[in-house]
């Protein structure tokens, strides 16, 4: 398997977590907590750290990358079946992010173009990406993440300086704790995507360092989302933010540079395409790679073309209108994340712990 460097692993993780969340999460947080949304964004660092420890534990106590790891710990039939379910999950997530993105561009950028064309073009580019192999994808992710993070930083700074009014964040506190929990949870589900480190961690230079990389990626994510939420709230205030479908996008439209360059939303979307491409290609890669392991195939690259049709059709049929899609995004997908990326890893963790205990007690008996 191709080796990837630590910085590439970092970029892959950041690239998987951030772009989609960048668009969704600030709105969601504002919806739940109004002007205090940013608190939830930053609070997520605490349970997020727990997740990092969890994944790192599983990673360090396994010999094979996910999904073979499932077979390693759960045994032949169960692990294989679960692995297959993960394949479906990753395919679904790919279709979902594709659809969300194309729906977004459809409404905001190119109204009137059939959505199938958007999806078709993107899928072609994605298949090319998977065919290029994970080593090359990792390099691509490096470029994408560097461009993306720089852009986000500049954007946030401009917005805060131009449109930001700190009073719009007041009053701090007077939180609804239920909503705070839900908001932090939502944020946490995104962080749980770090799950893929169970595969990628094995290919990076040193497995032991994967934990640190994961930590860095998680902190980057929290900072990006926190800063974005802050700037959105400072630009719009809690009330308007909670109404907007994609507040980050609306924030971009407010920016102008030197009273000349204005409505730079299209540039935002341009950079954002790179991010979405990253998410989709990584989840899809996970699906293809898992399929290769589960079905003992020769090479994951050939699976890409085969699953392309599936992904395309799923993403078109996934929902009939944007409200349905939003419900899907805000309710169904988090549940999936929660189950597959948090609950199952916790179970795995307990299993490993149990096994370790048993073997150590065996050892002590001998």
């Amino acid at each position: 398997m191709t080796r990837i460097s630590n910085s590439q692993l970092y970029c892959i993780l950041v690239g998987l977590l951030t772009p989609m969340a960048f668009l969704q999460i600030p709105g969601l947080l504002a919806h739940l907590l109004s002007q205090n949304g940013w608190i939830a964004a930053f609070i997520a660092i605490v349970p997020g750290y727990g997740l990092v420890l969890l994944f790192n534990y599983i990673l360090q106590h396994s010999q094979h990358p996910f999904p073979y790891l499932l077979i390693e710990h759960l045994g032949q039939p169960l692990g294989r079946i679960l692995g297959f379910i993960y394949v479906l999950l990753f395919l679904f997530l790919t279709s979902h992010s594709l659809r969300l993105f194309t729906d977004f561009t459809e409404t905001n950028v190119l109204p009137g173009t059939p959505i199938s064309i958007h999806i078709g073009v993107l899928i072609l580019a994605l298949v090319l990406g998977i065919r290029a192999g994970i080593g090359n994808l990792a390099r691509l992710m490096e470029i994408i993440v560097i461009c993306g993070l720089t852009f986000v930083l500049v954007l946030v700074l401009i917005v805060i300086l131009q449109q930001g009014e700190i009073e719009r964040l007041l009053p701090v506190g007077s939180l609804n704790y239920n909503n705070l929990a839900v908001a932090t949870g939502t944020n946490l589900f995104i962080i749980s995507k770090l799950f893929i480190v169970l595969s990628f961690g094995f290919w990076c230079g040193n497995k032991d360092e994967a934990g640190i990389v994961m930590k860095k990626a998680m902190i980057t994510y929290v900072l990006v989302i926190g800063m974005t939420t802050l700037s959105v709230l400072m630009a719009f205030g809690g009330t308007i933010t909670s109404v907007l479908t994609f507040p980050t996008f609306s924030m971009v439209t407010l920016v102008n540079i030197g009273n000349f360059i204005q409505n730079i939303d299209i540039i935002f979307i341009g950079v954002w395409i790179l991010g979405i491409y990253g998410i989709a290609v990584l989840t899809w890669f996970m699906a293809c790679y898992s399929l290769q392991i589960i079905l003992n195939l020769h090479d994951y690259r050939f699976v890409a073309a085969g699953t392309a049709l599936l992904v395309g059709i799923t993403s078109i049929l996934i929902s009939s209108n944007i409200l349905e899609l939003l419900v899907l995004t805000q309710v169904f997908v988090p549940v999936l994340y929660c189950f597959f990326f948090i609950i199952i890893p916790i179970l795995l963790f307990l299993l490993i712990l149990l096994k370790a205990n048993r073997s150590s007690s065996l050892e002590s008996k001998i």
Binding site: G112, I117, E167, G237, T239, S250
Partner: protein, 382 residues
């Protein structure tokens, strides 16, 4: 190139041939510089100021540089689209940087248009909002402005310039307007424009500030009250001029330029009674006097400063009085109470409309003179 790239290239070519997308060529579109909306006979009248494309060198003679097209619809989007029934080109609404709201519409209900404006991706949220006072938005858009080809670009420019020079009205962006409309504890305002008679027919003049109460317009602030509003909520643009009576005997006036204003508003809750504590700190430059008194002496500076402070305070009070009369919390005091005393707000919030007119204020103004420009003593006419 690899096989896949060729496939992709072919794909794009095919797309191109079947023409999957809607392109909007510029010569098939009309550039909408300004948008006007009014209510007329229960229908929304939408007017667009279409800029006539002309190269700077080629003056089109007597033709005005724009054309105003208007249509009526039962909703905003219908009105916007009905334009196409009488105009051959596709209007590019995204270019509009001025939104003129008719008085009739403002007095009726802003909800008629707010949702559509917020939802429509092509209406720019950083456009400037003004209210057409006693005239229809269509006429405002249809007026030619001296030295400017389009009134839609002229009005925002006038607003910006007068704020720096005169310091009366404040530019309000659509985003800010909608934001104040939606937030509890603050009501929106917008500068008003009207038409006056001049030598070359009608001309545009900024005249007062429209004050909204919730979704409806409640009334206007005159220019003094508008100035007071700006003192209460200074924006990013600094500047302005105040004119005070001369400090000593005589008929003269003294002009002071304001170079910096800063206002802090605190809500104090003293046994159930909300008191707003307003602290204004300002700096100014001595600009002129109309008399010949020897004003610029060190001992006179505090006198001048206190007169300025009085003037500023009275402007503020005038504004507060008018706003309380109109029951419209344009200062965002409700919001200040909410941010500083959330518990109090939870109690008062629902009845804020009733409480606001009775809110007491304590105004403290500090004003300091800094510079005197290129002369230190005034002329002595001998």
């Amino acid at each position: 190139m690899s096989k896949e790239s060729i496939i992709l290239l072919l794909f794009i070519m095919v797309l191109f041939i079947i023409g999957g997308c809607q392109t909007q060529e510029l010569n098939e579109s009309g550039v909408v510089a300004g948008l006007g909306i009014d209510l007329e006979e229960e229908e929304l009248q939408v007017s667009m100021q279409m800029a006539r494309p002309a190269l700077p060198g080629q003056s089109s003679g007597s033709e005005p540089a724009f054309e105003v097209v208007s249509a009526k619809g039962r909703s905003l989007s219908e009105g916007l689209r009905k334009i196409t029934l009488l105009f051959p080109r596709n209007p590019l609404v995204a270019q509009a940087n001025l939104l003129v709201i008719g008085e009739e519409l403002a007095k009726t209900d802003l909800a008629l248009i707010a949702d559509s404006i917020l939802r429509n991706p092509s209406i720019r949220k950083n456009a400037v909002v003004v209210v057409a006072r006693e005239v229809s938005p269509k006429d405002v858009l249809n007026t030619q402005v001296a030295m400017e080809s389009l009134s839609a670009t002229a009005i925002p420019r006038m607003l910006r310039n007068q704020e720096r020079q005169m310091g009366i009205y404040q530019e309000v962006s659509l985003e800010e307007f909608l934001n104040k409309l939606a937030r509890p504890g603050v009501d929106p305002t917008a500068p008003a424009v009207t038409l006056i008679d001049s030598i070359n027919g009608k001309a545009i003049r900024l005249e007062g500030t429209a004050v909204f109460k919730g979704r409806e317009m409640a009334g206007y602030l005159d220019s003094r009250e508008s100035r007071g509003l700006r003192f209460l909520n200074p924006g990013r643009i600094q500047g302005g001029l105040i004119n005070i009576p001369a400090p000593f005997e005589g008929p003269g006036r003294v002009g002071i330029e304001i170079i910096r204003s800063q206002t802090k508003v605190e809500a104090a809750n003293t046994d159930g009674q909300i008191v707003m504590r307003i602290t204004y700190i300002g700096e100014g430059n001595y600009y002129e006097q109309t008399g010949e008194a020897d004003i610029l002496r060190l001992e006179n500076i505090p006198v001048l400063e206190s007169i300025c402070a009085e003037q500023i305070k009275s402007d503020m009070q005038a504004c507060i009085k008018q706003a309380q009369k109109l029951k419209s919390d344009i200062f965002g005091w409700g919001n200040i109470v909410y941010s500083q005393h959330p518990a109090v707000w939870a109690e008062l919030g629902p009845d804020w409309e009733e409480i606001f007119p009775g809110v007491k204020t304590e105004i403290k103004v500090e004003f300091e003179l800094r510079r005197t420009y290129v002369t230190d003593q005034s002329l002595h006419y001998q």
